[in-house]
Symmetry: C2
Subunit: 340 residues, 2 copies
DNA sequence: AATAGCACTCCGGCCGATAGAGTGCCAACT
DNA sequence: AGTTGGCACTCTATCGGCCGGAGTGCTATT
């Protein structure tokens, strides 16, 4: 591709990002730093259209970049201001204060994403599978309840309240707790279930009811699926491109379904480190051609902890949004990694 | 109010609920079972307008019920079909299967609300205040972490992971657990904080770091505020009254803010048992004159556990929606009350 | 008291004309 | 050969005007 063409593509994209309108040759020649007549620009634009990087909505409108055009811009033309990056990084660090709780950290992070970009924020918490029981502990809560604390080999903690037999003394309970711990340590859920059934049959521990409840838990644990949380969706309603109710509806339906977006998020979790951009049709979410998704993984303790990013109109200032998402993800990684 | 007027008000409301349009005298006389000429109806409608129960959007449109008109209809004119109530009750009971987890129960309930009404569902979980510490227990999780389980006098359980000093043996830990339990039992959070500070100063237990973390918790506990959960918001986007983006935006902003809606919910929680309806301006949510909120408390173990209901257009079929919300709340109460 | 008739009002949809923006192509220029 | 100016053409969005429909309020009538 000729330098001339690249330059003009870049100018078209910039103008389009600013105005949201298709941009014509005259406007372009008057607008920028390029010293070319409208006619020359027209020729170049016709070439770019043939290459599939621009398109015109109708005969006598200007040209808009296609998804491929935007992709080319993001990949090859766009320059991220290093100052901006540093500035953002500093501003985010200073603006957000440290909380210990992971949920608070993530909440702060998305709030910051929303307020910086004015788009909808998105964060997923990657829940690793609950593969094996590491430890099980029964804590007496009252005369009527016991708290069962179950820790997985991945360090995930689950709590469950079970009813307590009135006759069960605290001493006996801690005895049972020890036996159970021995019985179930390093079992998969499936194994745990089987052992519990056997135990119920023989009822050696004489706590049939408690075992029954634990068995139920083993059959139906809180499933290890990532969860998606959105914030600031109403921001999107301010954008002129979402003036038609139809677009908005498909967007919010997608927020509710979550399924498809989860796929995208998992894709990002499994790819290499860095910010990922999905422009228009690239994310393969039906009826959402008008939106782009910018995501980045965050990490801690060397593991992938989740994904965060924003959802906004295809026409967004990528050179600004990318560093914002990048810095926020880095900040979260730093806080979560260093803090525990 | 004359019987004639009541009858006509009822007909206007019904026609309006069906069509969403202002309804004129001719249409009304042709529509229903009333044997009156358009002119007579006009007279009555003029009276009703003077009473503030009807209004016309402009000179030559028909009449729509005002908020007061709808209120009058809901309070005095509407008849709820007893069959419908029984039928709904049975259908909900059979359609939803029992889960033990409260969150699953609520999720099912709102899903059912959404699918039956085609409006947005809403559920709040009332979190009672965390007034006094009933019990505190430290559970060893691994060589690096301890799980602190804190139970309030209301029976609410909070968990918190704290870092573990490498030298701390399991035996010593259960010792500390006992001492702490003695130290903090029946303290308010404020007292607990003070005692912890004193303890840190003297450091009798030689676990400064652990105490510090607990102190932080006492200063900043998960606050005892009700939380609001929505579902099916995108349903609202299908309604013609939300065709204008402005209306939608204020609605979704309200969903995000939650503050104002929480007030409404708390109001319902504190009132007596039964379904509450807020029509248009009655809920005092700015810019949301076009929506009505239908809510009902649900209970269990004799306590108020929370509120559930729907948010939909002011033009909804109250005679259908009220029993739906009522039955769902009763079902939830039954399941939560009988199950634990 | 109810009704029929009538004049009046207002909204919404449907042209038709116009201005504006932009393109494509051709011929001229460097 | 690439660039430029000119020109005819096209398409859209907008504005004003013009009805037809629906509905009201008032008045005279039964």
């Amino acid at each position: 591709m000729k330098e001339r063409h690249e330059f003009i593509l870049g100018e078209v994209v910039k103008a389009y990002l600013d105005t949201g309108q298709a941009v014509g040759s005259r406007a372009l020649s008057e607008r920028g730093d390029l010293e070319l007549s409208p006619a020359s620009i027209r020729n170049a634009m016709a070439d770019l259209e043939r290459m599939g990087l621009l398109c015109s909505p109708h005969t006598s409108a200007g040209r808009k970049p296609t998804d491929s055009g935007l992709r080319y811009f993001v990949d090859s033309l766009m320059v991220v201001d290093a100052n901006l990056h540093n500035h953002l990084s500093a501003s985010i660090s200073s603006h957000l204060n440290l909380k210990r709780d992971i949920n608070q950290v993530l909440q702060q992070a998305t709030d910051e994403l929303v307020s910086l970009t004015r788009f909808a924020g998105l964060v997923s918490v990657h829940e690793p599978d609950f593969s094996r029981i590491e430890k099980i502990e029964l804590v007496p809560i009252s005369t009527e309840q016991i708290l069962a604390v179950i820790v997985s080999s991945e360090g995930k903690v689950q709590n469950r309240l079970v009813r307590r037999d009135a006759q069960l003394s605290d001493g006996r309970l801690s005895e049972i707790s020890r036996s159970l711990s021995e019985l179930l340590s390093h079992c998969s859920l499936e194994e745990a279930r089987e052992r519990l059934i056997r135990e119920i049959d023989h009822d050696r521990l004489r706590i049939r009811q408690l075992l029954e409840e634990l068995k139920q838990w083993a059959e139906n644990p809180t499933k290890g699926k990532s969860d998606l949380i959105f914030s600031g969706q109403s921001q999107l309603l301010k954008m002129p491109e979402f003036g038609v109710i139809e677009t908005v509806r498909s967007l919010f339906t997608a927020f509710e379904e979550k399924e498809d977006l989860l796929k995208l998020v998992e894709q990002v979790e499994q790819s290499e480190h860095g910010v990922k951009v999905f422009i228009g049709h690239e994310h393969a979410l039906i009826d959402m051609d008008e939106v782009s998704v910018v995501l980045s993984r965050y990490e801690g303790e060397g593991r992938v902890l989740g994904t965060l990013g924003v959802i906004g109109p295809k026409r967004m200032h990528y050179e600004r949004v990318l560093p914002i998402v990048d810095c926020t993800a880095r900040w979260v990684s730093r806080v979560l990694g260093g803090n525990r």
